[in-house]
């Protein structure tokens, strides 16, 4: 079958950096094509070019054999290309139907019922389960993603690009997403999916293109390859052995003690209902749970961004002040927020982002010590292998490198307690590996680590103890040695364990 999309010799430079270097990429109708590569390899850039967000410096794009110039998303959409980015572009106050139709109304006047009927038809024909009259702001992340897909389909797209769609999804939602993608595939659509998870590549795709440093290093049929082969292709060397936590013996004093936290959100919903847990020095405690069971609220309280209605937190015996991020970091609590964009200021330089949290250490009588700021940045960039120069604007970095800024800043200064929320979300295999190593190093140092992750495997890999969070409280605790996935899974969904 001829390719529906053919990109030839695509090169894109940002200043001195070549993000895409003569890339050839093609996809056929009815194909699910995975795009794989380390953080900063140029995956998003290539897809943004296909969606008309960036213009290539050279190379051309053909659709059904015809050369096209895509200078804006509008043109890409007109050519049947849809893009679901990791950051959704939805209007929270509008309904699903309104969001879907927005920008593609078809006529000047809107007939609400006709509109929602049409959207409903589109959804039904694709077996997409969604209430078209629901207000988008109330939907879960997985449902919002479905709205984004619906939006693309409503515009009649033939090629759907999904940039790290699974990074934000809970395991159950991932399976549901894959079901949707298979339906689309059955109808002859082409799907490009970016992911860092090799098992997902094998679960869903027929072909894989692997990028490294802006170049294509391989294009294979998925079934002819193995996870190890792909991993090696991605990083260009034999992958290192998986770091795992196998030494569960050390037991120091309790360093993080969380007692009976209760928290009501702005809409009056009870998000934390008497949550208690403790973490000892040299211990990693993993918090397992389905998204939305109070993890975010717990992290907000522990990182100094929110105050609970009642309850207490102590760090090394000292009470942790609420809503005072500065005081929290002064107690040597390293904070890795779940949303990168809340932890990094995109319009400031990398070096400023690396020092702002402890700015008092870089000033002499209020005057910034630029030499020290730069030296700090250079040291951290080297230690954490961040692909950037100190003066680059943070927002020009790839997702993984932005995450490394946060890691470098928080782990670079010998913390007592580490609050790690989704620390490897969106990271490639190497970087994930690296983060795991860093967390284990901190454990060895004697830091108390609270790991909140939606990735159960990550929790099983790293934790000395696993606690399951359900509806705002801890529903069960397991020692790593005798943790059983089925029991954890049952607790996560609110079932009572039959021990």
């Amino acid at each position: 079958m001829p390719p529906i999309i053919e990109m030839r010799g695509i090169t894109k430079r940002f200043g001195a950096l070549t993000a895409n270097d003569g890339i050839d990429f093609s996809i056929e109708p009815g194909e699910i094509h995975a795009l794989l590569g380390e953080n900063g390899a140029g995956k998003s850039t290539l897809m943004k070019i296909l969606y008309g967000l960036y213009q290539p410096d050279s190379g051309d794009v053909r659709i059904n054999g015809q050369p096209v110039r895509l200078t804006s998303p509008a043109e890409a959409i007109a050519n049947g290309i849809g893009f679901v980015s990791q950051h959704f572009a939805l209007v929270p106050k509008f309904t699903v139907a309104e969001n879907v139709v927005l920008g593609h109304e078809g006529s000047r006047t809107l007939h609400p019922t006709a509109m929602s009927t049409r959207v409903m038809e589109t959804a039904a024909s694709l077996r997409l389960l969604i209430d078209v009259n629901a207000v988008v702001g109330r939907l879960s992340v997985g449902e919002q993603q479905r709205v984004e897909i619906l939006k693309a389909l409503y515009r009649d797209c033939k090629v759907l690009i999904m940039d790290e769609p699974t990074a934000v999804l809970a395991p159950g939602d991932i399976a549901a997403l894959f079901d949707i993608l298979r339906v689309l595939q059955g109808r002859g659509m082409a799907v490009i999916i970016i992911t860092h998870k090799l098992d997902e590549v094998f679960a869903i795709s027929q072909r894989v293109t692997v990028l490294r440093l802006g170049k294509v290093v391989g294009e294979v049929r998925t079934q002819d390859s193995t996870p190890a082969a792909l991993a090696q292709m991605m990083v260009g060397r034999q992958t290192v052995a998986v770091a795992r936590n196998s030494d569960h013996r050390r037991q120091d004093a309790v360093k993080l003690d969380v007692r009976d936290l209760r928290l009501t959100d702005r809409r009056g919903g009870l998000r934390l209902r008497g949550l208690s847990l403790e973490v000892r020095g040299g211990e990693i405690v993993g918090v397992a749970g389905v998204a939305g069971n109070g993890q975010s609220e717990l992290v907000s309280v522990l990182t100094g961004m929110a105050a609970p209605d009642s309850g207490s937190v102590t760090v090394g015996g000292a009470p942790l002040p609420f809503r005072d991020p500065k005081a929290v970091s002064r107690l040597k609590v390293a904070r890795i927020p779940e949303d990168r964009l809340k932890g990094v200021i995109g319009d400031l330089s990398v070096q400023d982002n690396l020092m702002l949290e402890s700015v008092e250490g870089f000033t002499r009588m209020g005057h910034l010590d630029r030499a020290r700021i730069r030296a700090n940045a250079e040291a951290l960039i080297r230690a954490f292998q961040i692909k950037a120069a100190p003066t680059d604007l943070a927002r020009t970095l790839s997702g993984g490198n932005i995450q490394k800024i946060i890691l470098a800043r928080s782990l670079g200064h010998a913390p007592e307690v580490v609050i790690a929320a989704q620390p490897t979300r969106g990271l490639d295999i190497g970087a994930t590996e690296y983060v795991h190593q860093k967390l284990l190093e901190q454990k060895e140092r004697g830091a108390a680590i609270l790991l909140i992750s939606e990735d159960l495997e990550e929790i099983l890999l790293l934790s000395d103890r696993i606690v399951v969070i359900y509806e705002g409280r801890i529903a069960g605790t397991f020692a790593a040695q005798d943790a059983r996935i089925d029991q954890i899974g049952a607790l996560m969904t609110g079932a009572h364990p039959h021990a």
């Binding site: 572009a89 500065k326 927020p337 702002l356």
Partner: protein, 351 residues
């Protein structure tokens, strides 16, 4: 939500430098229609507006004089805007500074000039801060929108000024609604002989340079920029956002107050109700045109002063209304905003 920051391509440097030029060209193209309508040739008008004032010494001095108050209000507005505090109240803060300065000046009889002028500056700065305090507190305590409060306080200030001038301060000699004249030793020295360029110009430049240094080189300035770029992340990083914004709002008010001091001490020597033809609002244009950077603010203050001076020449030579300069300034602001927006979404001219 929609995250354009990451998607958008940073404009190359040459384009960013070109933006003001594009804005000016487009503005003049638009305004030529009005000039034609007023019965003059646009080319002559552009010459009178932009070139002629530069050819004569006295006009060049006038430009510096006219740039003085709008440079100060421009700096004031920029300080606040940088951290996302939209202070629209520079006009009121300017008058607050002018009132205090006039009061000190009138009572400065017998003091050495350095002391008299120093006191006026301090009093004016304080007055601007005081007038900026209420909206700033409302903002940091109750999140009351500062755009509304600062704007409303401008009108309140005009009432206070006119109450003062028609009541206790009515000039006892002439009976006009203007304050008594300030003492001779409180009057600002003139910098250029046979002109009205006064000490205030140096104060304005020093203010701009200090703010420049502050924003680029101090912890406080970096924190302000961080807040302006991403408030939530700034909070996460432990920056005391409310306190910093409050401080910036007060500094902004104080600098706007200095503009009032300059007009009283260097131009009029008394307080009148028409002391400022909207310098506070022009400051917003200056700050925006200057992209909230100090070199930009200095250039745009000079440029707007040039247009103001040029409008006088154009009026004299071509009989177009002096209001032309107001129209140009307003158009320039709109065009600049439009061009900035376009630039944010990356414009490409073919390949």
């Amino acid at each position: 939500m929609l995250n354009l920051k990451i998607e958008r391509e940073p404009a190359p440097l040459w384009l960013r430098l070109l933006i003001p030029v594009i804005a000016v060209v487009v503005t003049f193209a638009l305004v030529s229609v009005l000039i034609l309508w007023a019965g003059a040739s646009p080319f002559d008008a552009v010459y009178q507006l932009l070139i002629h004032p530069l050819t004569r010494t006295s006009a060049r001095a006038d430009i510096l004089m006219m740039a003085t108050p709008i440079l100060l209000t421009g700096v004031a507005v920029a300080v606040a805007f940088v951290c996302g505090y939209y202070n629209i109240g520079a006009e009121g803060q300017l008058y607050a500074g002018a009132i205090f300065a006039a009061w000190v000046g009138v009572n400065a009889e017998g003091l050495p000039p350095v002391v008299a002028i120093g006191l006026m500056l301090i009093a004016g700065f304080l007055a601007g801060m005081i007038w900026a305090l209420l909206p700033a507190l409302l903002k940091s305590w109750l999140s009351v929108d500062e755009v509304v409060t600062t704007l409303l306080l401008n009108s309140v200030m005009l009432f206070i000024v006119s109450a003062l001038l028609n009541g206790p301060w009515r000039d006892p000699v002439s009976g006009w609604p203007q304050s008594p004249t300030i003492a001779l030793n409180a009057q600002f020295p003139v910098l250029i002989a046979r002109s009205r360029v006064h000490l205030g110009f140096i104060i304005a430049v020093v203010s701009a340079l200090s703010v420049w240094w502050m924003l680029a080189r101090t912890r406080f300035g970096l924190e302000l920029r961080a807040i302006g770029k991403n408030r939530e992340a700034a909070q996460f990083l432990g920056i005391p956002v409310r306190r910093r914004v409050l401080t910036a709002a007060l500094i902004s008010g104080g600098i706007a107050g200095l503009a009032g001091v300059g007009e009283v001490g260097g131009i009029h020597y008394y307080l009148i109700g028409s002391l400022s033809p909207g310098f506070g609002y022009t400051g917003i244009i200056v700050a925006t045109l200057g992209a909230l950077t100090m070199p930009g603010v200095m250039l745009s203050a000079l440029f707007l002063a040039l247009i103001n001076r040029g409008a006088i020449s154009a009026n004299r030579e071509l009989d177009v209304p002096v209001y032309l300069s107001d129209v140009i300034q307003a158009a320039l602001l709109l065009v600049t905003l439009a061009v900035l927006l376009l630039n944010r979404y990356r414009i490409r001219w073919g390949r």
